[in-house]
Amino acid sequence: MGAFGRMCARLGHALSPQKIWGLSLARGLCDHGGAGGAVCCPPLPSVGRPTVEGCVALWEGLFHERGVPEPRLSSEYIIAHILGAKTLASLGSDRRTELLTDAQTRRVWELCAKRLRRMPVQYVIEEWDFRELTLRMRPPVFIPRPETEELVGLVLTDLRAGGGGDSPRVLEVGCGSGAVALSLLHGLPQASVVAVDRSSEAISLTRANTLMLGLQDRLEVLQLDVSLDPRAVVSRCAPVDVLVSNPPYLFSTDMATLEPEILRYEDHAALDGGDEGMSVITQILALAPCVLSLGGKLYLEVEPRQPALVQQAVSEGQEAGLRYSATHTDLYGRPRFCVLQRI
C-alpha cells in the first residue's frame, strides 16, 4: 500500500473522486519486476469509471514508479490515441473531464501494460508522425528519428532547385517503415522512388504505408541486400538521380549502452554498423558509382564521427567516380549528413 498510497497523496485531488477504484487497484498491485521476472500489471478498476485526466495522471505515476522514461508523455500519447487524437492538447478541455467507457479503459490498461514493459510508445500505438505524414509502426522495424526528417529536407531542397530534372528517380537503401521514400514522394509529385531493404518485415510495412498514403504508383519496393547482392540492385534500379540512405551506423561497441526500448524491440541489424559503424556505409559507397547517373548525388545520414571517415575513403581513391561535396550539420550542430556526387 505504501508506494501506491504515496502516489495517491502526490497526485492529490485528481484522484479523490476516484478513491474507490484507486484503492481497488492497490489490492492487485504487485511489485515483482526483477530480472527475468514477469512484470505484473495492475488490474482494471472494479468500481467506478476514471476521467481522462485522472487516467493520464494515474499512469504517469505508475510509469514514474517503474522507471519508465518520459512518463507523462507516454501516458498522454497512449490515452490520446485511444480517444482518437494525436495529442492530449488537441482534445478540447471539455473532453478531458469526460469519463472513459469500459472498452476504452480496458484498452488503456492493455496498451499501458506494454509500455510498462518498455515497449516504445510508437510501437504501442502502432503509429508515429514523420514530417507531414502519419505512418504505421510495427516492431521490429526501425522507428524513424527526427534527424532523418532533416535528411529528407536536404534532398527535397536540392531536387526542388532543379537537380535531377523534371522527373527525378530516387533509390533508397534501407527503407525501414518507408518514411524517407514516402516523404520524398509526398514532397515531389513528379518523382519516382525505388525502396530497397533486406528485412521482409520492413518491406511489408513499407508496402502497407504506401497503400495507406495512396502513393503506390510511384514507388517500387524490393527486398534486396546491398552487401550480399549488389549486382541485383544495380540491374534492377540503375540509373537513378539520387541515392539516399539512413544506414545502420552505430559502432558495435556502443550497442550495449542502448536503452531497453531500442535493445528489446528494434531490429539490431538496422542499427549495428560494425567497427566504426562503417560496414554498410562502405557497401553503399561502392554501389553508388554504379547506380548514380553522372552528376547524381548520394545523401547519407551518419554518426558525428563518420563524415571524416567517409571523406577519407573517397579521397584515398577507394571509391572511384565519387567526389565528396559537403557535410551538413543537424539541428544541434553535430555533423550528421554527407553529400557526395557522381563524377
Binding site: 500519447y77 488537441s90 478541455s93 528519428r145 526528417e149 551506423y249 558525428p304
Partner: protein, 491 residues
C-alpha cells in the same frame, strides 16, 4: 429631345408581349411629363441620360409587367445603365442583405464625419492641390526631379480624387431626382414610386462611396491584410485559478470568432493549468484582413466574478483576475532575415549523441534568439520538424513585432486606440459576470449578456466594428491636424 424619343421607342420595341394600346398610352404620358419638366425648368438642360433611363425602366416595367407578372423589371432595366455600374451590384440572399445592413450601420456616422468643417476643408485642400499639380505638370520648363515628385504626388492623390468625383456625381444625381420628384404634379403613383426607388438606390450608393472615400483618406495600416499569431497568457492572482479559467474562456471565444469570420484557427501551443484552466496558449489565425480586425484586442482583459467552480468557489466573494492578449502580425518571408547562427535550438535530443542511438517521443522544441533574447517554444505536434517550423514562425512574428513597436513609439500619437507595447499593460476591457456586462474602456462601449459575448459571434464583431470606426475617426483627425500644422509651418 429627339434622342429621348428615339430611346423611348427603342425600349418600346424591346418589350415583350406588350399590349399595343397600353404602350402608346404610356409613351404619351412620358412625353407629356418630359415637356412639363422642360417648360418648368425654362429650358435648363436636364441630364438626358437620367431621363432616358427613367423612361425605359418605366416602359419596360409596364410592358414586361403585363407579359411576365412578378418579374423584377427595374433590375433588368437598370443593369443596362451606366449609373448603376458605379455602385456595387445588387446581390440577393439573406446573408448578403444582413451584411449590407451591418455595413450600413457601420457607415452610419460617415455623413457626420464628412460634414465636419475640418474634414471638408481638408478634402477641398487636397482637391485644389490635385488641380494645381495638374496645371504645374503642363509647364514645359519643369525640371525632371520636380516632375517626378509631382507625378508621384498626383498618383497618390488620384484614387482619392476619383472617389471624390464619384461622390459628387452621385450627390448631383440625388439632387436631380429631388427635382424630378417635386416637378411632377400629377399623382402618377408608378412614376413617383420609381423615382423614390431611384432615390433610395442613389442614397445607398452615396453611403458606400462615402465609406470608400474615408478609407482612401485614412492611410491603412500596412499590416492590415496579414495573418496573425494570437497569444493568451493568464495573469497572476493571490490565489485560486480565476485567471486560468478566464484565459481558457477567452481563448475559446477567439476560436469561435475565427470560425464565425471563416478564418482558419491553428493552435500552435496549448499549455493547460491544473483544474481545467489554461496557463498560456498561442494560435495562428489566417484569412481575410485578420490583423485589421484583431489588432485592438491586444492588452489586458480583466474579469470580475464569483467563481462557481474551482478552488476559489468556496468563498462566495467577487474575485478579480486578469489575462493578457497579444496579437502579432505575421511577417512575409522577405520582411525579416534571421541568421541561423543567432539561434539556439533546444530539444530533448540536444544532449547526448542523438541519432539512431536514442528513441524518444519528446519532440518539444525551444528556440532562443541570442541577440534579442526572444524565446519561443512549441510542443504541439508529434513531429519535431513541424514543431520547429511552428516555433520559427512564432519567432519571426515576435521579432517583427519588436521592429514595428519601435516604429510606433517613434510616432508621437495621443490616440486612445494604440497598437503597441504600451497597451500591453493597460486594462482595455472588463468582463463583469455579476453585473452581466462587458465594458471596453477605450471607447466606453458596454455590451450586455456576457455569456453570448463569450461565444465569440455577433456581439464581439459589433464591438470590433465600433473600435475600428473610432480608430478611423481618430486617424483622420490626426492626419488633418498634422497637415494643417505642416501648412502653417510653411508660412
Amino acid at each position: 429631345m429627339l434622342f429621348t424619343a428615339v430611346k423611348v421607342c427603342h425600349y418600346a420595341l424591346a418589350g415583350v408581349g406588350w399590349d399595343g394600346g397600353v404602350a402608346i398610352h404610356s409613351c404619351l404620358r412620358l412625353l407629356c411629363l418630359f415637356l412639363v419638366c422642360i417648360s418648368k425648368e425654362g429650358g435648363k438642360a436636364i441630364d438626358m441620360k437620367n431621363w432616358a433611363r427613367l423612361c425605359s425602366t418605366y416602359f419596360c416595367r409596364c410592358s414586361l409587367g403585363h407579359a411576365v407578372p412578378g418579374r423584377n423589371v427595374s433590375l433588368h432595366a437598370s443593369r443596362t445603365h451606366a449609373l448603376q455600374q458605379r455602385c456595387p451590384p445588387r446581390t440577393s440572399g439573406p446573408a448578403q442583405a444582413f451584411a449590407r445592413h451591418q455595413q450600413r450601420q457601420c457607415h452610419s456616422n460617415h455623413p457626420e464625419l464628412l460634414k465636419q468643417d475640418t474634414v471638408q476643408t481638408y478634402l477641398n485642400g487636397l482637391m485644389e492641390e490635385q488641380q494645381l499639380i495638374g496645371r504645374r505638370l503642363q509647364d514645359p520648363a519643369l525640371s525632371d526631379c520636380e516632375r517626378r515628385g509631382l507625378s508621384r504626388r498626383q498618383l497618390d492623390l488620384s484614387p482619392l480624387a476619383s472617389a471624390f468625383q464619384e461622390l459628387q456625381c452621385a450627390v448631383q444625381d440625388l439632387v436631380e431626382m429631388e427635382t424630378i420628384l417635386h416637378s411632377s404634379e400629377r399623382e402618377d403613383d408608378q412614376l413617383l414610386a420609381l423615382v423614390k426607388e431611384e432615390q433610395n438606390q442613389i442614397a445607398k450608393c452615396i453611403e458606400t462611396l462615402q465609406g470608400k472615400l474615408l478609407e482612401k483618406l485614412v492611410p491603412s495600416d500596412r499590416h492590415d491584410a496579414r495573418d496573425v499569431i494570437l497569444e493568451v497568457a493568464a495573469g497572476r492572482t493571490t490565489g485560486g485559478d480565476i485567471c486560468q479559467q478566464f484565459t481558457r474562456e477567452i481563448f475559446e471565444m477567439y476560436q469561435n470568432f475565427a470560425s464565425y469570420k471563416n478564418w482558419e484557427f491553428d493552435v500552435l501551443n496549448y499549455t493547460p493549468a491544473e483544474y481545467g484552466g489554461l496557463h498560456h496558449a498561442a494560435a495562428r489565425i489566417s484569412g481575410q484582413r485578420v490583423y485589421r480586425n484583431l489588432k485592438y484586442e491586444g492588452g489586458t482583459h480583466r474579469v470580475q466574478r464569483i467563481p462557481e467552480t474551482g478552488l476559489s468557489s468556496r468563498m462566495q466573494r467577487i474575485h478579480t483576475g486578469t489575462m493578457t492578449v497579444i496579437v502579432l502580425p505575421q511577417p512575409n518571408e522577405v520582411d525579416l532575415n534571421i541568421d541561423s547562427k543567432d539561434l539556439r535550438i533546444d530539444t530533448f535530443r540536444s544532449k547526448g549523441a542523438g541519432g539512431q542511438s536514442v528513441n524518444t517521443t519528446d519532440s518539444a522544441v525551444r528556440i532562443v534568439h541570442i541577440p534579442t533574447g526572444i524565446t519561443v517554444e512549441c510542443q504541439q505536434e508529434r513531429s519535431q520538424l513541424q514543431n520547429r517550423d511552428t516555433a520559427m514562425r512564432m519567432l519571426r512574428a515576435k521579432m517583427y513585432r519588436q521592429i514595428t513597436d519601435r516604429e510606433t513609439e517613434q510616432r508621437h500619437s495621443a490616440r486612445k486606440l494604440q497598437v503597441g507595447t504600451r497597451s500591453q499593460s493597460e486594462r482595455i476591457r472588463t468582463y463583469n459576470f455579476t453585473q452581466d456586462r462587458v465594458n471596453d474602456h477605450r471607447i466606453g462601449y458596454v455590451a450586455r449578456d456576457i455569456k453570448e459575448f463569450l461565444r465569440g459571434g455577433e456581439p464581439l464583431d459589433e464591438l470590433i466594428r465600433e473600435l475600428l470606426k473610432c480608430a478611423q475617426k481618430e486617424a483622420l483627425l490626426e492626419l488633418i491636424e498634422n497637415s494643417s500644422q505642416r501648412k502653417s509651418g510653411h508660412f
